[in-house]
C-alpha cells in the first residue's frame, strides 16, 4: 500500500492526483478508501491492512483458501456493476478498479453476515459456560459483533454424543463444529497427516477419523495434532490435558522457546497459580511460523512433577541422601571436587595393602544436551577454570572424534547459517542421518512446505519412512553403516541437484554412529558446494558447541591453541594462557572409561539420562567407581542414585536464558514463572525455589575459590557475547576413521541369520521431559520392528507377528511391520518405553546402528527380557 492511498478521497476528482499504480499492484476502493494491493492478494488481507476486520472462521493466512464458512461476505462491484450476491472475501483476489463494501459501509454485506451467523448458530449448543474455548472463542466474539441479538430458532437442535476422543490428546465436540475445515486443511496441507476428514452430508456433516466413522481403524495419529486445537475457531477440538483447567482471563501468558528440540520454536506458556496449564505455539514467521509439534505443546508437567528435586541433597555416612542447606551442600561438593581435582582424595591417600600406583586425579564434566547457552557456558568455564581440565562433553548420545572435527569445521562459532527460510527456497535438500519428523519436527514442517513449492527433498536412509513420504521425498537407500559409501556414490541427478546454488545438506547428530559419515558429508559439501547445517535433537546441543562445552573447543568455536587460550585468559582475568589447560580433553565415552578404570576421581553431571549414553553399563560403572559425583538435576534420575551431592537446578520455566537453535539463531526467553514471587514456583503444593545451572556453578566455584562471573544468565550471556566468535582461519579436515570400513562391516549379514541394524529415536519415547503426560504418551507411534518382505519370509515372520531383537545384553520384543528396507536389514526404534515404566534402549542391549543384530520369531510376550 502506498502512502498516498491511505488518504480517503474526498472528491472523486482527487483520484486523478494519486501516484501511478506500482508495478504488480492493482488499485481498488474498499469502504470508500482507495488502496493499492499486490496482484493476487486476497480481499480479506487487503481489508486487514486497512484495519477493517471482516468476520471469518475458515480463513487462515497459512492455509490455502477454502471459502467454507461464508462468514466473510462483502459486497463487490466490478466494472461499475454490482455482483449479484455478496462474495466471500477470503477467496476473492483483488482486481483493478474493484469497489468493495464491507459490513462497515454496506447494509447488504452486514445482513448477509448476520444471516450466515444465524445459520451457524442454529445447531450450535449453548455450551459456552462449560466450553474450554469460552472467553477466547471467535464464534462468541463474532456472534456478538456480527450476529443478531435474538434467535428465531425454536426447534430442537441436532445433537451428537460428546466429547468424542479422536486421539488420546484431542477431543472432538461435533455439536460445536462450524465445519470451517481448518483442522482438516492443516492436517492435509501442513502436517501431511490425513487422519481427519469431513464426513457425512447436510446437518450430519461432521469431522471424523476412520475410527469414529467405522468404529475401528486409525485415529488422529499426528505429531502435530495440537495445532488443530489451537486453530479451531470454536471449541470443537479441545485438549484432553487442558480440559476444564482454566479460563483465559485466569492465565498469565508468557512468551517462551521450546525446550524439547533444537528448533527454537516460539511458544506461549499460559500459567496460573505457579503452574503451567498449557503451552501454545507462538508466532514467529522466521522460525516456526505458527506451528509446533505435540511434544513441545503437551510436555510441560515435568516441572510440577513429584520427582522434582527442590532442596540440595548430600549423601550421609548411612549411604542415603539427606536434605540439607545450600551452604552445607556447596561446601561438601567444593571440598570433594577440590580433593578429586588435585588427587588428594581419600582413595589416593588410602593405599592400604595395595601398591600406591597412580592416584585418581581429575574431574570430568558431563553437562548434558538440554542446557541454555548461558548454562553451557558456565559449565565450560567451570571445567576450565575451577576444575582445570578440558574433560567436558555435552553430548549425552553417540559421539565421536570425527564429530568434533566436523563441528569445529562447519558449526562452532559460525553464527547464523542455513535458516528455515533458506530451506524453503532451496532447490534441493538432502537429509543425512536425520529422520526429520521424529528428530526435528519443526524442520520437517518447513521441509514439507518447501517440497510443496518445488524443493526436491532427498533422504539418505533405509526405508520410506513417513517423513520421506510426506515431504514428497526421494529415498537414497543405503545399508545401515554404509552411508559414507552412499554419499560418495550419490546418483548423478542428486549430486547435480546438490550442486545448484542454494542447495542444503542437513546432517543429524546420528552421523556420529557411523564412522566416516561426517567426513563423507564434509567431503560432499566440499565437492558440490551445497550449504550444510547440523540439526541435533536436543535444545542445548548447538549452544553447547558454541559455548565450548566440548573437549576440543573453547567458547566461540576457539581451538585449544595458545592464541585462543591467551585471549580467554585475559578476558577471564587469569594470569596467562598457562592458567588454562592445554591438553585436549577426553570425550564423553573416554571420561566414563577413565572414571570407571579409576583414572578420574570425580564427575560433575548435569541433565544426563544414563540410558541415552552409548554405553549405559560403562556409565553406571563410572558413576559407581568415581570418588565424588556431583549431580545438577531438576528431577530425580538414575544419576541421583550414584550422586554424593545433588544440587537442584531450575527448569526452563523458572529461569531466563537463550537456546541457540540449529540455525545458530539466538532464541532468548524471559522467566515464565519467577519462583521467588510469592505463591509461584509450586511443586506439588510446596514452594520450590530453584536456581539456574549457571548460578549454582558460580556459587560452587566461589566455594572453590574461583570466580566464574555467571551469577545470572544475563551476565553470562553478556560475557559470552563479549568474547565473540573466535574461529581460527585454518580449520583442519574432518578425519574419518583410520583404515576403510568398520570392523564388523563384512560379517556377511544373512549367512548366519544375523542382520544389520538400522535405528533412530522416535519423537515420543518416554524421554525425561515426558513424565506425567499420559495423554501425550498415548499418541506415541507404536514401536515396531521393520523388515523387508524377503527378509521376513526368510526368517518365517509375518506382519504383526512378535519378533525378538537379540543383542549381547538382552532382547527386545516388538511386532513386525513390513517396509521397503534393503534385504537383511532390520529397523527398530532406538528407545522403547516399557508399559510398567522404564525404557529399553538398543544401546543398552549392546546394539548399534550399522552393527549386527539377530532376530528371533514366534514370541508372543510383550516387553523385554533385558
Amino acid at each position: 500500500m502506498t502512502a498516498a492511498s491511505e488518504k480517503a478521497p474526498e472528491k472523486p476528482s482527487e483520484q486523478d492526483d494519486l501516484p501511478p499504480v506500482p508495478h504488480g499492484h492493482v488499485r481498488l476502493t474498499i469502504d470508500d478508501r482507495v488502496v493499492d494491493a499486490p496482484q493476487g492478494e486476497l480481499l480479506i488481507r487487503t481489508c486487514e491492512r486497512l484495519g477493517i476486520v471482516v468476520p471469518r472462521f475458515c480463513d487462515h493466512p497459512l492455509l490455502d483458501p477454502a471459502g467454507a464458512c461464508r462468514q466473510c461476505l462483502v459486497e463487490v462491484e466490478m466494472g461499475g456493476r454490482k455482483m449479484p450476491k455478496p462474495q466471500a472475501s477470503c477467496t476473492m483476489t483483488v482486481a483493478q478498479d474493484m469497489v468493495v463494501n464491507t459490513q462497515m459501509t454496506s447494509a447488504v454485506a452486514d445482513k448477509a453476515q448476520q444471516g450466515v451467523m444465524e445459520l451457524l448458530l442454529i445447531n450450535h449448543p449453548l455450551d459456552c459456560p462449560i466450553c474450554d474455548k469460552g472467553g477466547e472463542c471467535p464464534l462468541q466474539n463474532q456472534a456478538m459483533s456480527s450476529g443478531r441479538a435474538e434467535s428465531r430458532f425454536v426447534e430442537e437442535k441436532r445433537t451428537f454424543a460428546k466429547p468424542l476422543p479422536i486421539s488420546d490428546e484431542v477431543l472432538l465436540d461435533r455439536e460445536r463444529c462450524v465445519l470451517c475445515q481448518r483442522c482438516t486443511r492443516f492436517s492435509r496441507q501442513i502436517a501431511g497427516d490425513q487422519f481427519i476428514e469431513l464426513l457425512e452430508r447436510g446437518a450430519h456433516q461432521q469431522i471424523g477419523t476412520e475410527e469414529t466413522a467405522f468404529g475401528e481403524g486409525e485415529d488422529f495419529q499426528s505429531y502435530f495434532s495440537g495445532n488443530t486445537i489451537q486453530i479451531c475457531p470454536v471449541g470443537a477440538l479441545t485438549s484432553a490435558s487442558y480440559r476444564f483447567r482454566s479460563r483465559p482471563f485466569d492465565l498469565v501468558s508468557t512468551p517462551g522457546v521450546s525446550e524439547h528440540d533444537s528448533s527454537g520454536a516460539a511458544v506461549r506458556r499460559d500459567w496460573r497459580r505457579g503452574a503451567v496449564t498449557r503451552v501454545l505455539a507462538g508466532e514467529d514467521p522466521d522460525v516456526n511460523e505458527e506451528w509446533i509439534d505435540d511434544k513441545t505443546r503437551f510436555a510441560f508437567r515435568y516441572a510440577q512433577s513429584t520427582t522434582r528435586i527442590t532442596r540440595p541433597l548430600v549423601r550421609g555416612d548411612d549411604g542415603e541422601l539427606h536434605e540439607t542447606s545450600w551452604t552445607d551442600a556447596l561446601e561438601h561438593a567444593a571440598t570433594a571436587l577440590l580433593a578429586a581435582r588435585d588427587g588428594t582424595g581419600p582413595a589416593a591417600l588410602d593405599a592400604d595393602g595395595e601398591p600406591p600406583g597412580e592416584p585418581k586425579r581429575g574431574v570430568g564434566v558431563l553437562p548434558g544436551g538440554r542446557l541454555t547457552i548461558e548454562d553451557a557456558y558456565a559449565y565450560a568455564k567451570f571445567a576450565r577454570v575451577a576444575l582445570r581440565t578440558n574433560d567436558i562433553d555435552a553430548r549425552a548420545r553417540a559421539h565421536s572424534g570425527e564429530e568434533l572435527d566436523f563441528l569445529a569445521a562447519h558449526v562452532a562459532g559460525t553464527g547464523l547459517g542455513v535458516t528455515y527460510a533458506d530451506l524453503e527456497s532451496a532447490p534441493a535438500v538432502l537429509t543425512v542421518a536425520l529422520e526429520v519428523e521424529e528428530e526435528a519436527p519443526v524442520v520437517f514442517l518447513r521441509l514439507r512446505k518447501a517440497a510443496r513449492t518445488g524443493t526436491a527433498v532427498h533422504h539418505l536412509g533405509q526405508w520410506s519412512s513417513p517423513a520421506v513420504v510426506k515431504t514428497g521425498g526421494r529415498l537414497v537407500r543405503s545399508a545401515p553403516g554404509r552411508e559414507p559409501e552412499a554419499l560418495a556414490t550419490l546418483p548423478d541427478d542428486v549430486a547435480a541437484a546438490l550442486a545448484t546454488p542454494g542447495a542444503v545438506v542437513l546432517v543429524g547428530e546420528r552421523a556420529a554412529e557411523v564412522p566416516g559419515l561426517y567426513a563423507a558429508v564434509s567431503d560432499l559439501v566440499g565437492r558440490t558446494g551445497a550449504r550444510v547445517a547440523w540439526v541435533p535433537r536436543r535444545a542445548g546441543e548447538r549452544g553447547a558447541v558454541d559455548a565450548g562445552a566440548l573437549p576440543t573447543l573453547l567458547p566461540g568455536g576457539r581451538p585449544l591453541d595458545d592464541v585462543a587460550r591467551a585471549q580467554l585468559a585475559s578476558s577471564w582475568g587469569l594470569a596467562d594462557e598457562t592458567a588454562l589447560p592445554a591438553t585436549p580433553g577426553r570425550d564423553g565415552a573416554a571420561i566414563l572409561r577413565a572414571a570407571a578404570s579409576g583414572e578420574l576421581a570425580g564427575l560433575v553431571v548435569g541433565g544426563v539420562e544414563l540410558a541415552d549414553l552409548p554405553d549405559p553399563v560403562l556409565a553406571r560403572a563410572a558413576l559407581r567407581e568415581a570418588d565424588v559425583v556431583v549431580s545438577l538435576e531438576q528431577v530425580a534420575s538414575e544419576v541421583t542414585q550414584y550422586a554424593d551431592v545433588v544440587l537442584p537446578v531450575a527448569p526452563v520455566i523458572n529461569k531466563s536464558g537463550t537456546f541457540r537453535n540449529w540455525e545458530g539463531r539466538d532464541r532468548r526467553f524471559a522467566t515464565t514463572i519467577d519462583p521467588s514471587g510469592g505463591s509461584s514456583g509450586r511443586v506439588g503444593g510446596t514452594a520450590a525455589i530453584t536456581l539456574p545451572d549457571c548460578r549454582v556453578l558460580d556459587t560452587l566455584a566461589v566455594e572453590m575459590d574461583v570466580d566464574l562471573f555467571t551469577q545470572t544468565p544475563e551476565v553470562a550471556a553478556a560475557e559470552l557475547g563479549h568474547l565473540g566468535a573466535g574461529r581460527p582461519t585454518e580449520i583442519g579436515p574432518v578425519r574419518g576413521p583410520d583404515g576403510s570400513g568398520d570392523a564388523d562391516g563384512d560379517t556377511a549379514a544373512g549367512t548366519d541369520g544375523s542382520l544389520r541394524l538400522a535405528s533412530w529415536r522416535q519423537l515420543l519415547d518416554g524421554g525425561a521431559l515426558l513424565i506425567d503426560e499420559p495423554e501425550l504418551a498415548g499418541t506415541a507411534r507404536p514401536p515396531k520392528i521393520r523388515l523387508s518382505t524377503v527378509t521376513a519370509r526368510r526368517l518365517g515372520l509375518v506382519e504383526d507377528a512378535m519378533a525378538g531383537l537379540e543383542g549381547p545384553r538382552g532382547s527386545l520384543h516388538l511386532p513386525v511391520e513390513l517396509a521397503d528396507l534393503p534385504d537383511d536389514v532390520v529397523w527398530a526404534p532406538a528407545r522403547v518405553p516399557q508399559p510398567g515404566g522404564g525404557v529399553v534402549t538398543l544401546a543398552g542391549l549392546g546394539l548399534t546402528h550399522g552393527g549386527p543384530a539377530r532376530l528371533t520369531g514366534g514370541t508372543t510376550t510383550d516387553g523385554s527380557s533385558a
Binding site: C128, P129, I130, G134, G135, K162, P163, R243, F244, R245, S246, R247, F249, D250
Partner: protein, 189 residues
C-alpha cells in the same frame, strides 16, 4: 445565666428515657434482614443432590473484587458431581475481599450461586474467611443424596434444566433456592 442552666442539659437525657430504644441487643437477639439482603453465598443443588455449579468461572469473571476462585473438573460416569460434563472441583470465596455486590449471582448461568441472608462473616483468622465448597454448598435436604452419584432425574443434563422448573413446583422434590428464601430468617434466629 439562669439558675436552671446547670440542669437544663439533663432535659434531653430525661426525655430520651421515655422514647423507644434503638439499640440492637445483638448477638442475643439477631436482626432479621430484608429478604433480599446480600449475605453469604450458597452453591445450590439439584433436587437429587447433584451440584448445580458447572465450574464455568463466570462468577469469578464477574466479580469486581476478585474474591472468587474456581477450578473446573471433569465428571466421569464413575464420579459425577453435577449433570453434564463439567463441575466445579475447587470453589472458594474470600470474604475478606467480597463486597457483597451480587454480580456473581447475576453472572451464574445455572442458578447455582445465590446469596443467603447470613451476615455473620467476621473472624479472627484471615485463612478461615476463605470459604471452600464444604461451607458454601447448600445442605442436603430430604431426598437429596451426597454426590458423587449418577444422574437420578434424567438421562442427561438437558433433562435437569428443561424439567427443572416443573420439578421445583412439585411437592415431593425439594428446591434449595425456594427453601432458602423462606427458611433463612427464621433459621438464623
Amino acid at each position: 445565666m439562669g439558675m436552671f442552666d446547670g440542669i437544663a442539659g439533663f432535659g434531653v437525657t430525661f426525655s430520651t428515657m421515655f422514647r423507644k430504644v434503638v439499640t440492637e441487643d445483638y448477638p442475643r437477639v439477631k436482626k432479621v434482614t430484608a429478604p433480599r439482603y446480600h449475605g453469604r453465598h450458597q452453591l445450590n443443588r439439584h433436587p437429587d443432590g447433584l451440584e448445580k455449579c458447572v465450574g464455568c468461572e463466570l462468577c469469578a469473571w464477574a466479580c469486581p473484587a476478585d474474591a472468587i476462585y474456581v477450578e473446573g473438573g471433569d465428571n466421569t460416569d464413575e464420579e459425577r458431581y453435577s449433570p453434564g460434563e463439567r463441575y466445579g472441583s475447587i470453589y472458594q470465596i474470600n470474604y475478606l475481599r467480597c463486597i457483597g455486590c451480587g454480580l456473581c449471582i447475576e453472572a451464574c448461568p445455572t442458578r447455582s450461586l445465590t446469596m443467603t441472608n447470613e451476615y455473620e462473616l467476621a473472624d479472627d483468622d484471615r485463612q478461615d474467611l476463605i470459604y471452600d465448597k464444604d461451607r458454601l454448598l447448600a445442605p442436603l435436604l430430604p431426598g437429596m443424596e451426597q454426590p458423587p452419584h449418577p444422574m437420578r432425574l434424567g438421562e442427561n443434563e438437558q433433562d435437569y434444566y428443561v424439567q427443572g422448573p416443573e420439578m421445583a413446583r412439585r411437592s415431593d422434590v425439594q428446591d434449595a433456592v425456594r427453601e432458602e428464601i423462606q427458611m433463612t430468617p427464621e433459621a438464623s434466629r
